[in-house]
Structure formats: structure tokens, C-alpha cells
Amino acid sequence: MAEPAAPRKTDIGPPHYEQFLHPVIKKNYGKWKYHEYMKPGVMVHVSETGDKIYSIRVGSPRLISVDVIRMFADLADKYCDGYLRFTSRNNVEFLTDKEANIDPLIQDVQAGGYPVGGTDNSISNIIHTQGWVHCHSAATDVSGLVKATMDELYEYFVEMKLPHKVKIAAACCLNMCGAVHCSDIAILGIHRRPPQINDDSVSNVCEIPTTVSSCPTAAIRPTTVEGKQTVKVDGDRCMFCANCYTVCPAMPIADPLNDGVSIWVGGKVSNARSEPKFTKLAIPFLPNNPPRWPEVTDAIKKIVDVYAAGANRYERVGEWIERIGWPKFFDLTGFEFTKYHIDDFRHAGETFKRSAQIKFQ
């Protein structure tokens, strides 16, 4: 292989963060004392030195063009000496030490079509993934789903009126590149039909032993079809995880008639009060109904509504459900409880109710 012409710059890593810090932040690094919410989307952090930094949080679809980023950059120049950041939920945060700049900034942001909010006991941005926009594995499109859902939940982003934070995530397949497995509410794209096997190409594009062993339920067996080495799938054993497809492109699993969306609830990540917990199945299947997935947005709205009505302050969705009990959750939402809700994978038994502690309504 030919050497590159100039000495190639590699392994330099990301730029050092210090150059991107607002001078007030640099000065008070590690010295912050407390914070207060001034209004939805606006926080002030106060330092031991008495210095203050104001943060204005702006909702973003995450899938944004360079033009939108440039618009944010312009606003940062105008109001924040050029300083801004993104959050772990893909919101934008403008940072300024000038309290007077807050309201004008907000006006400009809103004029540009972007909402301010997402702090404290609100619904912040939805963590999500690629969907049909970029991924080969997607069972649904999350960009559209998220847009439709956030339209529906908009009031909860721009106001702080819920019992506590509600963290929502969406992922387009069981790989769960979003934070689906530990979210207050999660939207998950699912397949429901075993992979279709392209017998002609399996032996060319896939390593058959790897493919066979990729299946968590041992549903895949090697076989020969018309003289060609290939694999077959025992449909009864398949639970549609698509791990086979990940290792073998000749086993596409996406299927317009059967792909759809499942809804999950009650997970969390923080260690506050209760330990982190996994999200649990609320609705096993809703149809893929683009462009606005009304069945999905209705279901999520329903969950948020009953949570808002029933939970105590500082109770996350999962903590609330644990207090009232799962039977009550299904009762309040009207969601049907089916055999699909009952775990039957590896450690299924650990989820069975093993006490006589039962609530009767």
C-alpha cells in the first residue's frame, strides 16, 4: 500500500474541552454551589465565588442540518459570547452570565421555531436513533415517530407540571441504540416475522457456523437447498431479535406487513431513591402507521396522562407503578394484559409474582 503524501495526522483525539468553556465556567470550574430553575428551560447555577451562569435549554430534533447548527451558532454569538453546548438528550444549551440576555434569546429562539424547556419536572427531548433515515436494521422510523410524539407532548416540554422528570426514548430495532431499556417510557420498533432466507446467497455472504451460533434460541440450523449450503429457521423458536441478520445479510427480517412498534414503561437510570431499573412491556404491538403513528402517540399520551393524574411529586413513572401495582397500571391505561407480557426468556421465573401480597381493587 502506498504511503500518504504528507505525514498523516492521526490519533489526535478530540479537541481539549477547555477552549470551549465560557470564561465564567472556566473560572468556577468545580466550584458550583447550587442551582435554581428560573422558569421552564432556564437554570441558574451559582458558584461559591458568587458568580452565576445561566443556561437556556432549547429543544432540537437532533437530526439537523448545518444551517440549523449555524443558526444556533449565530444566536450564541449574539447573546452568549459564542458559548453553547449540547446535552446528553440532544438539546442545545445556551450559556451566558448576562441575565438580561435570557428573554431576548428566548424570543429569537422561539421565533426560529425552536422551543425552550425540558428542565426539571418536564418531558425533555426523546433519545432516539436512525430508523429508515439511515439504518439497515430499522423496523420503524424513529425520526417521524419522535416528531409526532413530541408534537403531542409539547406542553410537557415547555412547562414544568409533571410529578417528576419523564425520560422517553425510542429505538428502531431490538439493538436499542437509544436508551429504551431503562426509560420512563420507551418506543421500540419490532419485527414479528422470522427472517426470510436468501438461499442463493447465504453461502457467499455469510459464514454459516457464525450465523447458526448467532441465534440466542438456537432456531437456526444449517441445511442444503438445491445443492447450495444455506440455513433454515425454526419459526416456532424465533423471537425476531434479528441478531442473525446482523451477522448474515442474506437473512433480511424487515417486513412491511408485520413490523411495528411496542411500548415500554417504568425504567430509570438514576440512583435517586430507587435503584436503576429496566423498562417493562406495556403494549406488545401497535401497527406501523406513518407518517404520524396515531396509535403510538395516543398510547404514550395515555400513559403520561394517568401518570400526571396519579403520581406523587418526585415519583418517576416506574416508582409510581410499583406503588400502585401493575394490575392498577393496566386498569388505569386500559391496555390489555396478554401472555406476551409474561416473560418467557432466560430468567423469566425471576419476574413471576412469588408472594401472596396482592391488591384487590
Binding site: L188, M239, A282, I342, D343, I358, K359
Partner: protein, 406 residues
């Protein structure tokens, strides 16, 4: 006094000391008139010396027509201890709640004194009155004398094991159904299943009158019936006041220990948010004079409890959140359910696999479907967390999908 030489047991003699009653002292006395016990002591002393048991593996013995009720046992040191060369046990089905009269006990003692070692377990862990140590020859005579006096054998092997129950309504104010009647009725119903092993593995029934579960049914039975109620806890506020006056710390010991935080106490009266109460019994246990279970009583049925062999221990899991344990219709609902479960077990059970393990293998959802019980959120601690759902249907054609929609 003994017409045989008493064994020296210096190690065991150490267990004659101390305040707790000593089985060694007792056995030593029996050894004087029972050579079998004398040799048993000798063999046990050897075990204490060698740190090793001296019984051979199993041994199939029994009484005619029965497949269970007797545990065969032979010594591997029979040369040295010939009197306990055979040392089988007889499991006698105890009466509900382990109630006896002195006369009944003497009846049993006399039979056993005539035909066996005279040593017993009152009672075995499953609940039987266990006669410890006899020879094969004695089994038929023992059985004849027992049945003559209206006693029968209990279970062993892959059959219904001797059911047991707490004393329930006989002496407990908490009993939410008649455990003793249910236990008796079900024992009588399944005499054939109890005496003739035909299951994949053992099957244990245990009946507790309330969630205190005084026969450990949730941990130690395949089918656990635990009394409960659906309506409101009965409160006698005057008695609450009495407890308070007598110095009980109601807030610390009752209110704050309520697992659902559904109780409150204003210094005078207790209020309970009954729809959040999970029937744990704690408050009632602490203040039985003031609080009582409701009056719409029945039971929760749980399935699959067991010890660790083979896949690890299991606590029983909720099968029917609430059932009326109805004497008047002879517990028909319960028995119908049992029939469907045993049909399923017959078809899907594997040798030496308890029902709890079988359900985990087959899937609780599939099991419920097979026995025609609707899946309920009460069946689970929480719904599944993994996305590995075995959807059972998919559309092959657009038309199917459209049809579904309509």
C-alpha cells in the same frame, strides 16, 4: 434390665447434656427394651466417629397395592449392627392440623411399639406422622392394624404427597377459609393419586389460612393455598385506643412498617386505604384485637414452590389471585383447576421435573393458556423487560393484514 448388651456411645452421650430435651437420652431408654434402637445408637455412634452415614441407597419396599408410604432403608454396617439391618420408615397420614386426642396417640404408639423401633418423628417435614425403623416383614401387619383403626399411609415417590394445613379456623382468628376441611377433603379426593405414584415427580399440597403462611406453603409446596380477603380490613377503633393506652407505639410498629404506606393514624383512629393494601397481615398481626381481615374471604392459589434440586429453589408463583374455597360445592372450582393442571403435567412434564420447573421451561404464558386461565398482571412481579417476544402470528398476505384491520 435389657436382655442385650447396651452399646457404648461416648460421643452421643455428650448430647445428653444441656437444657434442650435430648433425643439421645430418649433413645438410650428405648434401647433398653428395643435391640433395634440399641443397634441404631451403635451405628449412629460410628457415624459420629467416622463423620459419615451408614445407610445404603434406597430400597424398594411397600405394602400391597400401594406405591408409596414406606421408605426402605438398609444398613451398610449390618454385620456390626444386625438389629437395624432393616430400618424402614412408615409415613402415616396425620389428621388435619395435627390435632390428636391422647387416645388416638396411644393407639398409634401401641401399634408401633408392637411392630417397630418405637422411635418416631412427630412429625415429618411434609407433615406425616413418621414411624422410624422396622423390618420388611412387619409392614403388612402394621398396615392392617393402622387401617383397622382408621389410619392410612401418606405419600412418597412421584405421587401426591401427604397434604398438610395450619390449624386455621380451629384455633386462629386469621383463617380466611377452612384449611382443615379443605386439606381433609382434598386428601380424600386424591387417595388414588396419593397411594399410587403416576406423576412425573412428587406433588405437594399445603393449606395456610392467611398470608402468614404458617405451613410455609409458598416455599414448600407445588400447590399452595393461602387464605386472603377482597374487601376491607375490619377496624375496631376502641381497641386501637386500648392498644395506644397500653403503650403500643402504633406509628413506629404499625403505620411505618406497612409495606404499601396505605395506613394512617391521627393519634386516635387508624385509616386504611384498602385498595392499596396488599394483605400482608402485618398490621393485623400486631393489633389482632383492633384489626381483622375482611369478610369477603377466600384464597390465593400459588403454584410451583420447591427446594433447590434440580434447577434451584422456587417460591410458588401466583396462579389464581382470588378463589372462593367453597365447601358447599365440594371445592369443585379448585378440583376442576387441578384436573386441567394435571392433564397439562401429564402431557408436558418430564421425569423428575417438578411442576414449577416445568412451567418455567414451557413458559408461564403457555401454561396458563393450556389450563385455560387468563393471563393477569397479578401473575407477574412485573411485565417482561426483554424484547424477545414470541409473537405467535404474522401476516403472510396484504389481505390478511387488511382483514385484521377491519
Amino acid at each position: 434390665m435389657a436382655d442385650h448388651k447396651l452399646r457404648e456411645t461416648p460421643l452421643l452421650d455428650e448430647l445428653k447434656k444441656g437444657p434442650w430435651p435430648s433425643f439421645v437420652s430418649d433413645m438410650k431408654k428405648m434401647a433398653e427394651r428395643k435391640p433395634m434402637v440399641n443397634d441404631l445408637l451403635g451405628q449412629l455412634e460410628l457415624s459420629y466417629k467416622e463423620k459419615k452415614g451408614h445407610w445404603k441407597h434406597g430400597g424398594l419396599v411397600g405394602v400391597m397395592g400401594y406405591g408409596g408410604g414406606i421408605i426402605g432403608r438398609y444398613s451398610d454396617a449390618a454385620k456390626e449392627f444386625p438389629a437395624c439391618a432393616h430400618f424402614h420408615t412408615v409415613r402415616v397420614n396425620q389428621p388435619s392440623g395435627w390435632f390428636y386426642t391422647s387416645a388416638a396417640l396411644r393407639e398409634l404408639c401401641d401399634i408401633w411399639d408392637r411392630h417397630g423401633s418405637g422411635m418416631t418423628n412427630m412429625h415429618g417435614s411434609t407433615g406425616d406422622c413418621v414411624f422410624l425403623g422396622t423390618t420388611t416383614d412387619e409392614l403388612e401387619p402394621i398396615f392392617a392394624e393402622l387401617t383397622e383403626k382408621d389410619w392410612d399411609l401418606g405419600g412418597s415417590g412421584s405421587d401426591v404427597r401427604t397434604p398438610s394445613c395450619c390449624n386455621g379456623m380451629a384455633r386462629c382468628e386469621y383463617a380466611c377459609y377452612d384449611t382443615m376441611d379443605a386439606c381433609y377433603n382434598i386428601t380424600m379426593e386424591y387417595q388414588d393419586e396419593l397411594h399410587r405414584p403416576a406423576f412425573p415427580y412428587k406433588w405437594k399440597f399445603k393449606f395456610s389460612g392467611c398470608p402468614n403462611d404458617c405451613v410455609a406453603s409458598i416455599a414448600r409446596s407445588d400447590l399452595s393455598v393461602i387464605g386472603t380477603w377482597r374487601d376491607e380490613i375490619r377496624i375496631d377503633q376502641a381497641a386501637v385506643k386500648e392498644y395506644a393506652d397500653s403503650g403500643m407505639e402504633i406509628r413506629a410498629n404499625v403505620i411505618r412498617k406497612c409495606p404499601t404506606s396505605c395506613m394512617s393514624y391521627d393519634g386516635k383512629e387508624i385509616t386504611i386505604d384498602n385498595k392499596n393494601c396488599n394483605r400482608c397481615m402485618h398490621c393485623i398481626n400486631v393489633m389482632p384485637k383492633a384489626l381483622r381481615p375482611g369478610t369477603d374471604t377466600g384464597a390465593t392459589i400459588l403454584i410451583g414452590g420447591k427446594a433447590p434440586i434440580i434447577e434451584g429453589a422456587l417460591l410458588a408463583t401466583v396462579l389464581v389471585p382470588f378463589i372462593k374455597m367453597n365447601k358447599d360445592d365440594d371445592y369443585q372450582e379448585f378440583k376442576d383447576l387441578m384436573e386441567r393442571i394435571w392433564d397439562f403435567w401429564d402431557e408436558h412434564g418430564v421425569n423428575r421435573e417438578r411442576i414449577g420447573e416445568c412451567i418455567e421451561r414451557v413458559g408461564l404464558g403457555n401454561f396458563l393458556e393450556a389450563i385455560e386461565v387468563d393471563p393477569l398482571p397479578e401473575h407477574v412481579h412485573h411485565p417482561r423487560t426483554n424484547p424477545y417476544i414470541f409473537y405467535e402470528e404474522y401476516f403472510e398476505e396484504v389481505d390478511d393484514a387488511e382483514a385484521q384491520k377491519a
